[in-house]
Amino acid sequence: MPLHQGGEKVFPTDLMIVKKTKKGDVRPVFLSSDSSDLAQSVINFMKSSVNHNMDYIDRGRKEIEVRSRNHKVVRGLFLIAERMSKFRPPSELDAYRVRKEIFSRSPLPVLDHSERNKVFMEIAAEMKTDVSAVENAMYGDKESDQILVEPPDTNPEDLCRMFNMEQVETILMHSVSMDIRRIRDWHNVLRRIKTLGLLCSIKTGGGEIESISVSGPMSILERSERYGIRMARIFRLICREDQWEVEANIMLKERDTKGKKTYRFRAGDETSDYFPEFQEEQNTPHSRFPVSFNTVPVTVPEGVIVPYCSVNQGGREILINLSVPQSIDRDREIKAYLFEKGISMENVYLVFGSEKKVRGEICFRDSINWEELIYEVNARYPGISTRTETKKEKAQNSDKMMQIKQLLDHTYPDSEKMVDIIEKEGLSAPEILEALGYTVTWKGLSMVVQKKNVLED
């Protein structure tokens, strides 16, 4: 099972099965091999439902639910099994096109059956198909009409493990705060915490990290579940470690009152067998790069940071602090502080999706480009870069600018997209646009880009 980002899809809260103790603990109900029969019956039903639609599967699920001791378990297993299956629409016709045809036939609703059949027959003739294909296609894009093509390729044990994983993630979705302990490799966890826009306090002892307390910016002001979804997304990363422990404060609705109560949730490596095994997505540098991951926590004002790695530049160690754009002010303060102490550190930013790159800082999209990182560090710590590299840089920059210019010319006059193209490269839009023959004016919050010669004309 691939690790992915973790927790993108979790159970809805009403499928959460927990036991609450009088002491204020909350424990998930895990499925073990004892539940394999139930998981097997879900898999069997899915296998027997090939060529049936989701409505049919839903009815079958309800029958199994009534027979089982806990309907939530059945619904949860079905939910995972459905996600692992492949479905197709009931007709090959484009549903939207069919609807458009139907509704544009007459402004008045069709009140008798012969008139209704006539509409379907006309459209079928135009689309060179039969009436049932048109009728099926009318809402053929609706989820309940989708037809099962491929059932889930899994076994009962793995299905149960995935269920357990989603149970824990669903509980953690209600976290107010979370403590992580006993992990050996903190880098990935810290990177994930930062990339999710969360904050953490690190507790150290004897130069080692003892624990990390995770919370969100607002957490200091109120007990908010707002960050729970993000905290849940860290769990997959933690539970694949040999040693781990998670303790979280979980805010849950009380059954008999309108209020919510905070419970303590704890899980550790003694439960690892209940979870699926993950394959880590690797992004490690090639051995030719002078990179080391054996970094130790560094004390800074009001806390501790753990550099992601260090780069050796001619015997000099440059620490790399992997961070997210939201922490830029704090990162710069830390860099300046360490500089005064004689420690070199570079902040490196990762951005995702449509996020804009950070200007003036080393920044990558989605993952680190190690070659570029080493190159940037070389450039920032003089005396190490070579004449050849400068030429190479110039050539690269010139090529890049040409590529950007071509893209901009192609995108013109869509100012917003043009600005996006430049900023995604981590460059300053007004400067680059001016240099490439455009003028920039501001309209409210947006830049308006025009070609220079157009204005002059």
């Binding site: 309800k62 639910e65 009534v66 027979r67 089982s68 001791r69 806990n70 309907h71 939530k72 939207y96 609807r99 139907i102 509704f103 544009s104 036939r105 007459s106 402004p107 008045l108 609703p109 069709v110 009140l111 209704r116 509409v119 009728e135 009318m138 809402y139 609706k142 989820e143 309940s144 826009g197 904050l199 953490c200 306090s201 919370s215 969100g216 910016p217 607002m218 200091i220 002001l221 109120e222 908010s224 707002r226 059954r255 008999d256 309108k258 004002p301 009001e302 806390g303 939201q326 002010d329 704090r330 449509s354 917003e416 501001w442 409210g444 919050l445 947006s446």
Partner: protein, 448 residues
């Protein structure tokens, strides 16, 4: 050193604070003070010399419109102004709340975000703002993410993006502001720094009393008028209840399922007096018997709500008002699709993609289709001025939902006479549901 104020993930970070206020909390994780973003207005007044970097720079906008405000609309705006450009205005559906919003935007001439619950509503606001002010309007939600000084957003998108969007708009208008009071959406109000706030709704009070929260974040209710006071401005209307009977087969299935449900709640001594009691029943239905009772309750409701004879009654009503614009309201999406397939009219549900919803509403406005089937997405705010017929095929017992649905056909028009039909299955629990929801609207009903 000068005190600085920055926006950070729905909070304001304050550095170099000499005299911190009680609403500021020192955050050791960043070595600075933090305050919730909604306190920004107060902070900027209290610390006028601080280097304020909370909002992005936005030039003053000079917006004008040629709309004429009615006397009560002018009064509402002046109350809002007196309250420091914050507060909620409560007016019945079709009383012109959008006009009040546009006047508020004109008067402040600053960046503004209009937040509304559905894609239809934000598209409607966007079209009106573009038309009235002659400007381009941004949209966040419904598959778009364009930030402009005047923008619209769904509650969902505003909630998801509050951490990054909370310092982009100085004025925020919450249409159907009662939604804002929910546990989740109230975070939008907390995490936006906007010092100017306007709430608009026809139904301020919530049965769960959560509207009390709005006082702190929105400035409270500052103006209210009811249907009775605004009769001159609304279309004439009547409400007709059409009772229908189940077929013998349906009736037997209904009774069987109802009996399973009642037997369980009697045995468990569950008393169902309101929505909260029902939630408790659902939470207690984790055992096989409870589950069976819940499924039986659902099935009996389905039978009552979507009795076959109701489809024929809709056919009758549509034939009687042939050519008039009608909206058919259902409680669930399946029934909306059933109506759509039966009468070959568009269905608008939460599953309908944004552009398609917009297209159907446009077709309806232009008269290219004269009937729409919808579950709940058209309950609120959508403006279809010449719709005269509403058909409630099924619905909840909520008076608020009923008022909103009625409001869809009350937009004034010359000589307009609107009729709201309610098709209710006799001898089922739906009758009591219908009676519950009728409380809270003017009594103009006939049982046919």
């Amino acid at each position: 050193m000068t005190m600085t104020m920055d926006f950070d993930h729905g909070t304001v970070i304050l550095r170099n604070v000499k005299q911190p206020s009680d609403y500021m909390v020192f955050d050791p994780r960043i070595n600075a003070y933090r305050a919730p973003a909604y306190m920004y207005g107060r902070i900027s007044i209290q610390y006028p010399d601080a280097d304020d970097r909370v909002f992005e720079k936005c030039p003053e906008m000079k917006l004008t419109h040629s709309e004429t405000l009615r006397s009560y609309q002018k009064k509402a705006i002046s109350k809002w102004k007196e309250n420091g450009f914050s507060g909620t205005i409560v007016l019945p559906t079709a009383a012109g709340k959008t006009h009040i919003g546009m006047e508020a935007i004109r008067q402040l001439g600053t960046s503004v975000l209009v937040v509304a619950p559905t894609i239809e509503l934000i598209q409607q606001w966007r079209t009106k703002l573009e038309k009235v002010f002659g400007i381009e309007v941004g949209q966040i939600g419904g598959g778009e993410k364009t930030f402009l000084p005047v923008s619209v957003s769904t509650y969902d998108s505003a909630f998801l993006m509050a951490e990054t969007m909370g310092n982009k708009f100085r004025l925020v208008i919450f249409d159907e502001v009662h939604h804002l009071a929910s546990d989740q959406y109230i975070n939008i109000a907390k995490m936006f720094a906007s010092p100017y706030r306007l709430g608009l709704t026809a139904t301020y009070e919530r049965t769960d009393l959560l509207h009390e929260k709005l006082e702190e974040y929105m400035g409270g209710k500052i103006f209210e008028m009811g249907y009775e006071e605004l009769e001159d401005y609304l279309a004439d209307f009547s409400i007709v209840r059409i009772p229908v009977e189940l077929t013998d087969e349906e009736e037997e299935e209904y009774r069987t399922n109802r009996e399973i449900f009642l037997r369980y709640i009697r045995r468990e001594r569950i008393r169902l007096k309101g929505p909260w009691d029902f939630e408790k029943f659902i939470m207690r239905s984790w055992n096989p018997e409870g589950r069976e009772a819940l499924l039986a309750w659902r099935r009996s409701r389905e039978i009552a709500f979507s009795a076959r004879v109701k489809i024929d009654t809709v056919r009758y009503v549509l034939s009687r008002h042939r050519g008039e614009k009608a909206i058919i309201f259902t409680e669930d999406t399946d029934t909306a699709y059933l109506i759509s397939r039966e009468f070959l009219i568009p269905a608008l549900t939460y599953l309908t993609p944004g552009p398609e919803r917009k297209e159907y509403l446009q077709m309806f406005r232009e008269g290219k289709v004269t009937a729409l089937a919808t579950s709940r997405v058209l309950d609120e705010g959508v403006d279809v001025p010449d719709a005269t017929i509403g058909i409630v095929l099924s619905g909840s017992g909520s008076a608020r939902q009923y008022r909103q649905r009625l409001g869809r056909i009350l937009r004034p028009g010359s000589g307009k006479k609107a009729v709201l039909y309610e098709i209710v299955t006799k001898s089922t629990s739906e009758y009591a549901t219908s009676s519950r929801r009728r409380k809270g609207v003017p009594n103009r009903s006939d049982d046919s």
